[in-house]
């Protein structure tokens, strides 16, 4: 939902970043206001996943230049756990498995830490259990998952649901969903997308990084950006995604070459 008067949540200016000395992001500019859904698409290796990870503070990436303001404050002044407490949420492309740590303990610790960081009350295990079970219904998850180790032995679809469950609990201001749709069957995609839709409101925003246009049939983006070689080379509304589905990326890349 576009509202030009809404407050700006994320402001990215000329962001450049490297991994292992190789420049992956070569000058990204993006403004995300409250209530908006942005989709970032692009071929493999275009840097779209890197962009999401850099915003969340993944240690493998080094920011080389540019500014990122999150609610008007310098994002890079914060450690990744501080960013999480400030309201940034990264839905992982490949959620990490933590054997031996139960999902319920992990979720409660994350929830209470983030609550504490926002000056809100923590929940005791019983109160938390009520809350998490309520949120699990949203994602049609079996409460049995609470007793299992974090993502350990989960199917791809179960892991992605677990990610969105965490988003539901942590109530971020900005959700960065990195290929949350990859590897999902159509039924699972409907559930996950439905969950995300229910969590979006006029005060938060979402950046979807996706490889497949299919997700955008279920979550309607306000803006679609195409990334290639570390830059956003085209931005448009949702019709751009449909055009990409029809024509692939080559025409854009060729156009860029021709223009260059």
């Amino acid at each position: 939902m576009i509202n030009k008067d809404a407050k700006t949540i994320l402001e990215v200016r000329d962001l450049t970043a490297t991994v292992a000395g190789v420049e992956i992001l070569k000058g990204i500019n993006l403004t995300v206001r409250a209530g908006e859904v942005h989709a970032i698409m692009g071929p493999n290796g275009s840097g779209k996943s890197t962009f999401a990870k850099v915003l969340a503070g993944h240690p493998a990436y080094t920011v080389k230049g540019g500014d990122v303001l999150f609610e008007g404050k310098d994002l890079f002044a914060l450690e990744s756990d501080e960013r999480a407490r400030a309201g940034i949420f990264l839905g992982f492309q490949y959620p990490v498995e933590i054997p031996g740590v139960t999902n319920s303990a992990f979720l409660r610790l994350a929830y209470n830490t983030v609550q504490g960081g926002r000056g809100k009350d923590e929940l005791d295990p019983l109160e938390f259990d009520d809350l998490v079970r309520e949120k699990m219904k949203l994602l049609e998850m079996n409460p049995e998952f609470l007793g299992r180790s974090v993502n350990d032995g989960f199917s791809g679809g179960e892991k992605k649901r677990n990610e969105i469950l965490q988003m539901a609990l942590l109530e971020p201001k900005l959700a960065l969903l990195d290929e949350t749709d990859s590897g999902l069957d159509i039924d699972a995609l409907r559930v996950v997308a439905g969950g995300v839709n229910k969590l979006l409101n006029a005060d938060n925003a979402c950046v979807l990084v996706t490889h497949y246009q299919r997700l955008l049939n279920y979550i309607t983006p306000d803006y679609v950006h195409v990334m290639s070689a570390g830059r956003i080379i085209r931005s448009g509304d949702r019709t751009l995604a449909l055009e990409l589905e029809e024509r692939g990326y080559d025409w854009l890349l060729d156009g860029k070459k021709a223009a260059a």
């Binding site: 969340a56 503070g57 993944h58 240690p59 493998a60 450690e79 990744s80 756990d81 960013r83 999480a84 407490r85 949420f89 990264l90 992982f92 959620p95 990490v96 498995e97 933590i98 054997p99 031996g100 740590v101 139960t102 303990a105 992990f106 610790l109 994350a110 830490t113 983030v114 960081g117 180790s149 965490q166 942590l170």
Partner: protein, 477 residues
């Protein structure tokens, strides 16, 4: 990020101080005269000296084992002192123990005063080669339990020592067991008579203090029919930049319906971050489930030593007997561990469980080596083994060597193994949910080790958790 992991796994060793106490030390070197000297110092009967000399002569014909997955320079067995005892000579009561020694053990957190002791734990305290004191001896004697140093047992209960010593680990069993049989100096002796359930935890605390001495202790625990005992052992040593040899032998015997639980928290000095110094821990531990329905359970938390070579084993002879092995082995820096267990099923319907958790950090190498052997007559024998490894950082190694020999078709043997890793991705996942690195590592490690910690007696579980914490947590840079 790797620096974060480095600080996390590089906590200083807290037990590395040396007690300034005058010691009586045997000259370096090993020969029959030294063995006679040790035996004479301890005023031993002739049969025990024979036992030692036989073992020594056999040892001379043996060579060091080469199969463990560890490397170290050749040990010069003539450069070690085989006897070191604090002077003045051991006293008869607590009040006469050298206050310097008492302060040492207090500093280590070992309860040597009965009044200050943790409720329900009796302790035998071994300093270098000798037993310094044993608490609650009288109280235990009231129910017929003998708990004392093995030197004392040789004098006061020779028939028991003679009957059982070498019955589970024969003097010539392996290179280090033979060495121990020749030169062992002290250790703990426990005898739980028929039908008695030991009312408190029995515990031995081992401390190596002298730089050039080895520690060769010998522990013997006998549980008669229907007896039950839980025994704990803890070990520390000062920081020296030379290596000390620790070659212990532990023998357990469980008769019909007896139950022995043996727990170890091993925190010998491990050497510095460059692998300088530390204890060579070459230990033979074996339990014999001699009687029907007997049970022997080993639980170990191994965090120390430069090199660990140790396979607490169970020989399951009695029908329906049960062997268990629960282990957490943590290696860091340049530590090397080759540890595991042997479960030898000889009797019908014998059962064994192996749960091994190996954690490797730094440049360390951590191997699990286990043998499950089902003899031809072990109808209905069952084993379940689970061997999990966790790697912290990218420069350490983990190996699993399971050996399975099944000679009876009715046996059921299961083996499971996993390897997981704590790297920046795992920590970043926690961080991106608002959880800091230190808390994340502690949560991961405790989750990983939970199956083993549950087996430890309460006080030790707390100690073990703290110990792993000390080794792995710390200020995040």
């Amino acid at each position: 990020m790797s620096t974060v992991l480095d600080t996390l796994v590089s906590q200083p060793y807290k037990h590395g101080f040396v007690t300034d106490i005058e010691s009586e030390t045997a000259p370096k070197g090993l020969n029959e005269d030294i063995i006679r000297m040790i035996s004479a110092k301890k005023n031993e009967p002739e049969w025990l000296l024979d036992f030692r000399l036989k073992a020594y002569r056999h040892w001379l014909t043996m060579t060091e084992p080469k199969w463990p997955n560890v490397t170290y320079p050749k040990i010069d067995f003539q450069d070690i002192s085989y006897y070191a005892a604090p002077k003045p000579k051991k006293k008869q009561s607590m009040d006469e123990v050298d206050p310097e020694l008492l302060r040492t053990f207090e500093k280590l957190g070992v309860p040597v005063h009965e009044r200050a002791a943790l409720a329900g734990v009796a302790v035998d305290v071994i300093f270098d080669s000798v037993s310094v004191t044993t608490t609650y001896k009288e109280k235990l004697a009231e129910v017929g339990i003998i708990f004392c140093s093995i030197s004392e047992a040789v004098h006061n209960h020779p028939e028991l020592v003679k009957k059982y010593i070498g019955s589970v680990v024969p003097a010539g069993d392996n290179y280090y067991a033979a060495l121990n049989s020749a030169v062992f100096t002290d250790g703990s002796f426990c005898f739980i008579p028929k039908g008695v359930k030991c009312p408190m935890e029995l515990s031995t605390y081992f401390r190596i203090n002298t730089q050039d001495s080895g520690q060769f202790e010998r522990t013997l625990i006998i549980a008669e029919e229907g007896a039950q005992v839980s025994y704990l052992e803890g070990c520390t040593a000062p920081k020296f930049d030379t290596n000390q040899l620790h070659a212990a032998v532990v023998e357990l015997v469980a008769l019909d319906d007896a139950d022995i639980k043996y727990s170890t928290v091993q925190n010998w000095y491990a050497g510095d971050e460059n692998g300088k110094g530390g204890i060579y821990n070459f230990v033979t531990k074996r339990g014999l489930c001699k009687g029907r329905n007997s049970k022997i359970s080993w639980t170990q938390v191994e965090t120390g030593s430069a090199i660990t070579w140790k396979y607490p084993s169970c020989v399951l002879l009695g029908e329906n007997s049960i062997g268990e092995f629960y282990s957490v082995a943590l290696t860091n820096h340049k530590q090397q561990a080759d540890t595991g267990t042997k479960m030898i099923h000889l009797g019908k319907n014998t059962r064994s469980t192996i749960i091994s958790k190996g954690i490797s950090a730094g440049h360390s190498n951590n191997s699990y080596r286990g043998l499950v052997k089902i003899g031809a007559k072990a109808e209905g024998a069952r084993n379940f083994s689970q061997c999990d490894s966790m790697l912290i950082g990218a420069k350490c190694g983990a190996n699993t060597f399971p050996y399975i020999q099944v000679n009876n078709p009715t046996a059921k043997v299961e083996h499971e193994a996993t390897t997981s890793k704590i790297g920046e991705d795992q920590l970043f996942y926690f961080q991106s949910r608002g959880i800091g690195t230190e808390e994340a590592v502690s949560m991961i490690i405790n989750g990983f080790c939970k199956d083993v910690f549950q087996q430890l007696p309460m006080e030790f579980a707390v100690e073990a958790t703290k110990l792993l914490g000390l080794k792995l947590e710390g200020s995040v840079g």
